[in-house]
């Protein structure tokens, strides 16, 4: 895997138009059916091109997050900024986020949006005192603001913050670090060579921190790519961004292996994300990887990574790991099979990696994304609330 293939983004003109038209029709059909066909909407958000236009996103994103657009929270008053512990930091981060706004936008319009951005962030934080601001949160919120406007953005971001982003908004980074711990096990499953190289370099996973907690909004300069990824992530399991991060590393296999094997060099290489990634291909790969190696399969290894570094909070990690085990029957069976296989080999080192690689190569891109999508999307929203309960028993 991880061979460079030509980007699928630039599908030819006429064919693309008719495909797009068909997709738009299908999306509206799903929106207009009663009850709304959310499963189809998820599939549309994941499959090639995502949700296509901001007009559609305004309608579909709320459905993906189960947000009722008839009952939006009231806009905040002026008192919001008074005595607010986060105001100064939010102001600082929003003021220097000029590059997140469209290049040609007039200054006064941009400044107006920046004020709205500050208000949305403070509003959500105020309504949810258990949530803590982090730098990068503004990169997520600005994406919603630019696509759906302030009123709807507030509702969507609030839902997102109590679900997908919840772990990033703890008082400490422990849970964020835990999620980063999934990165190396995913890479190991697909390409042990890259994994071992990175382990030897002791590069860690911090190069992927901003990718994860901003859903790549902080590092991608083309806004179209950002919203395309948001379509994907909104339709998927909250851990999907870490699978996508792994797919990017794997895609850069050769660069990584050619790099000098030390922490600084590898960190530097990976931190600089290429701007011309073949997003559709990578999205499809991330979906496939999720299906083949669901979080439940990786949970133990992720927890182990943590344990290797520090004994503290290991128990909590295991607790979290067990919560993440929500496989459907197929995945559960696969999990059992793997356990049995491991019992046979009795050794982590003798893990049947080669088989997995072969399997992956065969399945590769031929796995219908539809199938991946179905498995991926099932647990997106059911997952988080329970997760939260475990953090605050």
């Amino acid at each position: 895997m991880a061979r460079r293939s030509p980007p699928r983004n630039g599908v030819g003109g006429h064919d693309f138009d008719s495909k797009k038209k068909r997709k738009v029709a299908e999306i509206y059909q799903a929106l207009n059916s009663d009850p709304i066909d959310v499963a189809t909407l998820r599939r549309m958000a994941i499959s090639e091109g995502g949700l296509l236009t901001d007009e559609i996103r305004c309608k579909v994103w709320p459905k993906l997050l189960s947000v009722n657009t008839d009952d939006l929270p009231p806009l905040p008053g002026k008192e919001l900024r008074e005595d607010n512990k986060d105001y100064q930091q939010v102001l600082l981060d929003v003021r220097r986020s000029l590059r997140r706004f469209p290049p040609g936008m007039p200054d006064d319009q941009r400044e107006g949006l920046q004020e709205e951005l500050i208000d949305i962030i403070l509003h959500v934080l105020k309504r949810n005192p258990q949530l803590h601001y982090y730098q990068g949160y503004h990169d997520i919120v600005v994406t919603f603001l630019l696509v759906v406007g302030d009123r709807l953005a507030t509702a969507l971001v609030e839902k997102l913050s109590t679900h997908h982003l919840r772990d990033f908004m703890d008082p400490t980074m422990d849970n964020t670090k835990h999620i980063l711990n999934y990165l190396m096990p995913i890479i190991d499953q697909v390409n042990p060579k890259v994994h071992d190289f990175m382990q030897s370099a002791e590069v860690g996973t911090i190069f992927a921190l901003s990718w994860l907690i901003t859903w790549f909004g902080h590092v991608l300069s083309d806004f179209r790519h950002v919203v395309r990824l948001y379509d994907f992530f909104l339709a998927c399991h909250p851990l999907m961004p870490i699978y996508f991060a792994a797919v990017i590393v794997l895609y850069r296999e050769q660069e990584v292996l050619d790099c000098e094997c030390d922490m600084a060099s590898v960190h530097h290489l990976l931190s600089q994300i290429p701007q011309d990634l073949p997003y559709e291909t990578l999205i499809s790969r991330a979906g496939d990887l999720f299906v083949q190696f669901p979080p439940s399969e990786l949970a133990r290894e992720a927890a182990q990574q943590q344990a290797e570094r520090t004994a503290a909070s290991t128990f909590k990690d295991f607790e979290l790991a067990s919560v993440q085990q929500r496989p459907d029957t197929v995945l559960r069976r696969r999990f059992r099979e793997r356990l049995r296989a491991e019992e046979r080999t009795e050794s982590i080192l003798a893990k049947p990696r080669t088989n997995r690689l072969v399997k992956l190569a065969v399945m590769g891109l031929t796995v219908a994304l539809g199938a991946a999508a179905l498995a991926v999307v099932k647990s997106a929203l059911e997952w988080a609330p329970k997760f939260e309960l475990q953090i605050f028993p």
Binding site: L98, P171, D196, F197
Partner: protein, 213 residues
């Protein structure tokens, strides 16, 4: 200013720390690329840039790590202090609060870095003189009392940026030389050691590479 394959005699790892928004990223970009960005985006996690300078006859490659200033990121960034031989603790001369917490930053630093680390206190944003909240003398005295180098800079108009980095790199260089002389009989190396290609990393030896399989 550094091609990929430049020759160098020493690599010094230096960290930039201090509160969010004091100008760490711009100090770094001014030094390594002679650039200043008014909307330099928030640093999330850690990043680094390099630049080589001449100290005496030796080419010193500075590997300067820029860190996120927000408190919550400290658990992550402090791991990167390991192996640093120099640190710039930056505050904003127009925000007293960023100076008040310098002591906390120093503690954080000494908790995670080598005791021999060379530390420089940097008061940044001197271009905003009319908004100054931290008197130069106050900061200088603090630096003197705590054995820190001290300089005031403006990443925006370039004042003293070059000088700040050169000063600390020279200081590290001298320390390395002294250490070398002192350790010439023994094999223990605290601050620097030679590596096979004649370069010396500031910390430990370079690990042998690992492209096996």
């Amino acid at each position: 200013m550094g091609s990929a394959e430049e020759d160098y005699n020493f690599v010094f790892k230096v960290v930039l720390i201090g509160e969010s928004g004091v100008g760490k990223t711009n100090l770094l970009s001014r030094f390594t690329r002679n650039e200043f960005n008014h909307d330099s985006r928030t640093t999330i996690g850690v990043e680094f840039s390099t630049r080589s300078i001449l100290v005496g006859d030796a080419v010193v490659k500075a590997q300067i790590w820029d860190t996120a200033g927000l408190e919550r990121y400290r658990a992550i960034t402090s791991a990167y202090y390991r192996g640093a031989v120099g640190a710039l603790v930056v505050f904003d001369i127009t925000k007293h609060q960023t100076y008040d917490v310098v002591e906390r930053w120093l503690k954080e630093l000494y908790d995670h870095a080598e005791p021999s680390i060379v530390v420089m206190l940097v008061g940044n944003k001197t271009d905003l003189a009319q908004a100054r909240e931290v008197p130069t003398e106050e900061a200088r005295m603090f630096a003197d009392n705590n054995g820190l180098l001290f300089v005031e800079t403006s990443a925006l108009d370039s004042t003293n940026v070059e000088q700040a980095f050169e000063t600390i790199l020279k200081e590290i260089f001298h320390k390395v030389q002294q250490q070398k002389q002192r350790n010439s009989q023994s094999n223990t190396v605290a601050l620097a050691s030679g590596s096979p290609d004649g370069a010396a990393t500031a910390q430990e030896e370079k690990r042998p590479c690992c492209v096996a399989i």
